[in-house]
Symmetry: C2
Subunit: 481 residues, 2 copies
């Protein structure tokens, strides 16, 4: 840091949440210091791009154990739109109009996400968006905007009771740690947040950091020579999120702009370890994912070499302290990826914080408090929904009943517009807070359940009445016989 | 550390769990390095003792925010007995034969914990036990015992994937960090365990560190001039754990050898803050704890000056990694203090680990795995029981129904010896694993509940039968009239 930003804002973590938060703050006129422990990902990307010819990109991306593509949906887009960035991001995305369910026998079925052009997911590259946001931050500020300083290889080593931050410039070997006291500190440094750890020394911060029993493994479906059935080298239908639901495990694949897909196998750790042996892995794929195997030429090598990633939920309480330190994104509420809402919720945080600062007229402590009150129940609900949706994706998407239920909800939505077409639609395509969407759809489902039981009872009563009438008639007939 | 104990055992944390674990390991013939971030508490105690004349001791103890006395019960004693230390520890304890319940009107009632001399709690000083265990570790080893090295002011800074430990001697300013690779590393470094934090970088360690909404404040009941009603200067009955249950908050007091008591007020953080003002605090005590107020001459000053402590539960999973690193005590399973089992469970860990090492014939990875399998469900149950018991202590101990239920259980225990006299007895005085005690008493309670309902039903049926008989008789009488 060139100067101690005593009146500025420090954002820790230059990932997706931190970069977007910095853009929102700059736009408010705040001077922002965005710092990150890692080196500039744009420099790393340049290295990767030159290595991409020998498959370096996917290995590099895997090495960070973060999924290389993500599903951007309307919550994330709303935040980007506020800054006028949505169109540019979408230009690099691949639209996914629905789930393409792959049955074990190879049969496929597209389940559209919705009926409008808005109700689609957008497959985007995590690295590309991150790079894009950092580029924007590096551009000179427009009139009224604050200045931005990017500080990579900077490590947070302490947080004082007065909200002061002690930081070490790890690129400068001999430099001692420096202490600054910004007006506002945002911890956007991910699941293993150091800001959160330091915050827990200042207040009674309850934390739950919980792994699930399953992990994931990324696998590639490379682009084919241009042309072919789907055009542009895509080996599968490009405008879909492909799912191979197999109950105990599942494979998914998201399209990339270059014609490739990134496949992700979610399975128990035991299974993921067994598959390291190609003598186990290849027959396993042949049995369960024959159509995917046909488009995965590097599978044997990837099963052995690609790192496995863990899946965890982070819940903490509170997200803030001292009226000036606030956690956002994964640092506050990391979720398992099964609703595709991690990035979207982080972007929604940035938008909500901007609105809270508006409403509080730049009063940081007030804005932090109202932001937390609004976002905490929403993100708690998202954590639950994301865990539940793993079961849904692995099992229910393959069932007739699931499709029937969705059709019924869609039909009701046409008659009663306030009826939610489905929980997935409310979570993915509405601006409704996650907990409101969850409560509403649970209520709708219980209403449908009651209606079903009442209908059954009425049919039963009608049946009995008819039977009685018939037997009465027979008796009368008998009497007359 | 003088030498890298490449074949020895390192215990991190020289508190109660770590010191006792080190004694068990030394007895097995292991060379043990016991290290702690803090300075030697025996040196600190010497300072405190000299300051005790002006009330320095209690302030010093409070400053560490750890309760200064604890209730040692049979699980803890069993571990101490295995090392031949129980008698010496008990010599400094004050026996508590039951709960002394103080009603709002000043009436007191003793509820005995049990019927035998074994079924008592022992009020001991945390500091005194810790000092005693460290003294024992400092004594020269007996034949067959390993050597012990005590390393205070040593900070763990890293844990390698291979189970190597990097440690910094903070007393030696310029010394670089040193890396050792012990055969076995025990993390006994408390709720905020650094070993646990480092372990979470090696494996998928799920952690829940959760505070409750209430905190505590220690208050003193000083000894009176020798003599008086209870003798030895005690201002209250010495052989009891005093409880002032007031539903939303409670006061307890444990006796000390010197005739004083240590009082602890448990209440919501809001209330604890309000009481800082003596104009609020004194009237509050006058209203709710009049008899306690009468024996608390320093209350006004203590309400303002004494620090408040937080109460949290730590659950994590797993407790071990790499076949050589293991968490015990609070580092693995800190609990809220309402069952008085924190220290007892930690001591039971040490005994269980010793037995697991016996059974595994010194095979550390095998012993660690079987220790974890046995202890994890027990300590999970203890965490739940300790949270539940706060409600019980605050509310139920004051109710007639609670006393009646305990009497019923005690009576059943006389008839059916396998019947547990009460959950409290099973947890506090039996060697039964906590989860077994919990499940058993839940089963007993459901059986009693069923018996109660069946009895009610039988009485009802008998009543109806009698009524019918009577009316039948009347009818017959009527017919004869």
């Amino acid at each position: 840091m060139a100067t101690a930003p005593s009146e500025g804002v420090v954002v820790v973590g230059a990932g997706l949440a931190g970069s977007l938060a910095a853009l929102f703050l700059r736009r408010r006129g705040d001077d922002v210091t965005l710092m990150d422990l890692r080196s500039d990902p744009r420099a790393a990307a340049a290295v990767a791009a030159s290595a991409a010819t020998d498959g370096g990109l996917s290995l590099l991306a895997n090495a960070s154990k973060r999924s290389i593509n993500l599903a951007l949906s309307s919550r994330g887009l709303r935040a980007l739109r506020k800054l006028g960035l949505a169109d540019e991001v979408l230009r690099d995305a691949v639209i996914m109009r629905g789930r393409m369910i792959h049955a074990p026998n190879g049969r496929t079925e597209l389940q559209p996400y919705g009926t409008t052009d808005e109700e689609v997911l957008n497959s985007v590259s995590r690295e590309a968006i991150n790079r894009f946001l950092l580029e924007r931050l590096s551009a000179p500020p427009e009139a009224g905007e604050g200045r931005v300083e990017l500080c990579f290889k900077h490590k947070v080593v302490g947080l004082g009771k007065d909200g002061s931050l002690t930081v070490l410039d790890t690129a400068d070997g001999g430099a001692p740690a420096r202490t600054v006291r910004p007006r506002f500190i945002i911890g956007a440094d991910g699941s293993f947040s150091v800001v959160r750890r330091e915050l827990s020394k200042l207040c009674r911060l309850s934390l739950r950091h919980e792994y699930i029993e399953h992990g994931y493994l990324e696998l590639s479906i490379p682009a084919r020579p241009a042309g072919g059935r789907y055009g542009n080298g895509f080996a599968l239908e490009p405008h879909a999120l492909h799912i191979w639901p197999r109950h105990d495990f599942m494979l998914i694949a998201l399209p990339n702009r270059d014609g490739s897909f990134t496949g992700t196998l979610f399975a128990s750790w035991t299974l993921l370890e067994q598959l390291e042996d190609p003598a186990v892995g290849l027959p396993f794929f042949r049995e369960h994912f024959a159509d995917a195997l046909a488009v995965m030429p590097d599978l044997a090598q990837e099963l052995t070499a690609n790192p496995r990633g863990a899946l965890a939920t982070v819940r903490c309480d509170p997200w803030h302290a001292a009226g000036r330190v606030l956690l956002i994104g994964d640092a506050a509420h990391a979720v398992v990826p099964f609703y595709g809402q991690g990035m979207n919720a982080a972007f929604e945080d940035c938008l909500a914080l901007d609105q809270a600062l508006d409403e509080a007229r730049h009063n940081v402590p007030k804005a932090i408090a109202s932001f937390y009150t609004a976002r905490k129940p929403a993100c708690d609900a998202l954590a639950d929904l994301s865990l539940q949706n793993y079961v849904e994706m692995r099992s229910k998407t393959a069932s007739r009943l699931f499709v029937l239920k969705n059709s019924l909800d869609a039909a009701l939505h046409r008659w009663v517009p306030s009826w939610q077409p489905s929980l997935h639609t409310a979570v993915t395509f509405s601006p409704m807070p996650y907990h409101v969407a969850k409560a509403r759809c649970e209520w709708q489902d219980s209403l449908l359940g009651t209606a079903f039981h009442v209908s059954c009872a009425l049919v039963g009563i009608a049946g009995v009445a008819l039977a009685l009438k018939t037997s009465g008639a027979s008796a009368r007939l008998g009497a007359h016989a």
